[in-house]
Amino acid sequence: MELDFSFYNWDLFKNFLQKGLLFSLQLTLVATVGGIVLGTILALMRLSGQKLLSTPATWYVNLMRSIPLVMVILWFFLLMPSIIGKSIGAELSAYITFIAFEAAFFSEIVRAGIGSIAKGQTAAGQALGLSYSQNMQYIVLPQAFRNMIPVLMTQTIILFQDTSLVYAIGAYDLLKGFEVAGKNFGRPIEAYLLAAVVYFLICFSLSRVVRKIQSKVAIIR
């Protein structure tokens, strides 16, 4: 077998890969931010102690965690047109799907993070006369998020890997960019190999960063 990587140059990156890489990164960013916000709301609902709030949140999280992401992507792509009333592109559908799906996973992380804060902290907040929401906002969540940073970032790396699954609905992400480039030049093998290398480099360097951060922030106990 002969490999020929000579066709990979700056033009190819600009024509095929740039758009895909940008979409993958944007999707990761949007899904992380949206997922953390929605996930925090879900976690607070579950911890609220009110059945009306905690039951639907628990169901939602458990359902999302037991279906493959690919199926969730397909579901949203199928249902979105009938919910909104007009067809939306694969890209927009992917954004919505990923926020909804990752929220379930982020909510578990947030819930564990809140659980890791010592009971005395909440009690101290109450003793100061803070309301429930004030207690959460000023005492619990700031400490919890600081503890959670490494786990949240690890989840973001997994999320970045998962973005490749938008392949199922044909959205143009990094992997798709490599595939199209490989097809165009009749060199699919090299394209898949390079895709693996690029994904590896991105994820590996991010995981190094996480390890660095982990040693810096892990103090609150």
Binding site: M1, L63, S66, I67, P68, L69, V70, M71, L74, W75, L78, L79, S82, I157, Q161, D162, S164, L165, Y167, A168, L175, P188, I189, Y192, L193, A195, A196, Y199, F200, C203, F204, S207
Partner: protein, 263 residues
């Protein structure tokens, strides 16, 4: 938008409905119809999902436990250090490439490098991809499990005159593996979920079934719902089975693993 699950009873070939919803599955008994119904197809697809996952899980456990053990081996010899290095590279490599890309590599690239893999059916290649991907994660957990044991256990094994192999085989691994049953449960559930990427190389498992029948019948909601229900059932069963294994293997009086799982 109408919702009608009877589509599952329809023949995949003709405008014909089976009275018992099954077609060729019960054909030898001369009930139902001759053709394959969508329900027949769905159950076959479930079978593929389960086969791919189970083969993948078994391989992943074998590789993962070996690599995880390598990462904790004592010894400052050249062999010890190089096997540690190898194991670390293994974990980093297979953890940091998306599973879909790994499936593509196994399907498109590796058979060209290793020609004997050309005759291997694609579902096995997907199992290999899932196994290698999951082995990296299992290795991490095995390592964590071994390191969570009190150091005295290792020392006690040595004091009894056990060799390194014996101490791992009879003292360390039996305890470490019991400790990591809860995270292994999530990995087993993950491998079932990840098996859905097999659609990308046309293995006719559940996700492929959903995509194909959605196009064929335009009855996406019914088909997706059926597939989703089967995935949920599978995930739940895996959870239960691992729970049973955890209970059966628990050593009375030894409080290594807490009974409360994360699920």
């Amino acid at each position: 938008m109408t919702f009608d699950l009877s589509i599952l009873c329809k023949s995949t070939l003709e405008e014909e409905y089976s009275p018992i919803c099954f077609g060729e599955t019960f054909q030898p008994l001369l009930i139902g119809i001759n053709d394959q119904t969508y329900l027949d197809w769905l159950l076959k697809a479930w079978g593929w999902t389960l086969s791919v996952s189970i083969i993948g899980l078994i391989l992943a456990l074998i590789i993962g436990i070996s690599i995880g053990t390598l990462r904790t081996l004592p010894g400052k010899s050249l062999i010890g250090r190089s096997s540690l290095y190898f194991a670390n590279c293994w974990v980093e490599l297979f953890r940091n490439i998306p599973v879909l890309v790994q499936v593509f590599l196994w399907y498109h690239v590796i058979p060209l490098m290793l020609p004997f893999l050309k005759s291997v059916p694609s579902y096995l290649l997907v199992s290999f991809a899932l196994a290698f991907f999951t082995s990296a994660r299992i290795a991490e957990q095995v390592k964590a499990g071994i390191q969570s044991l009190p150091r005295g256990q290792h020392a006690a094994a040595m004091a009894l005159g056990l060799s390194t192999y014996q101490s791992y085989r009879f003292v360390i691994l039996p305890m470490a593996l019991r400790i990591i049953i809860p995270p292994l449960t999530s990995e087993a559930m993950n491998i079932v979920k990840n098996s859905s990427v097999a659609f990308a190389v046309s293995v006719s498992e559940l996700t492929m079934f959903a995509m194909q029948t959605q196009e064929e019948t335009s009855r996406g909601i019914e088909m997706y719902l059926a597939v989703t229900v089967l995935y949920v059932i599978t995930a739940f069963s895996v959870n239960r089975i691992m729970g049973i294994i955890e209970r059966k293997t628990r050593i009375p009086g030894l409080l290594l693993s807490s009974p409360s799982g994360a699920h």
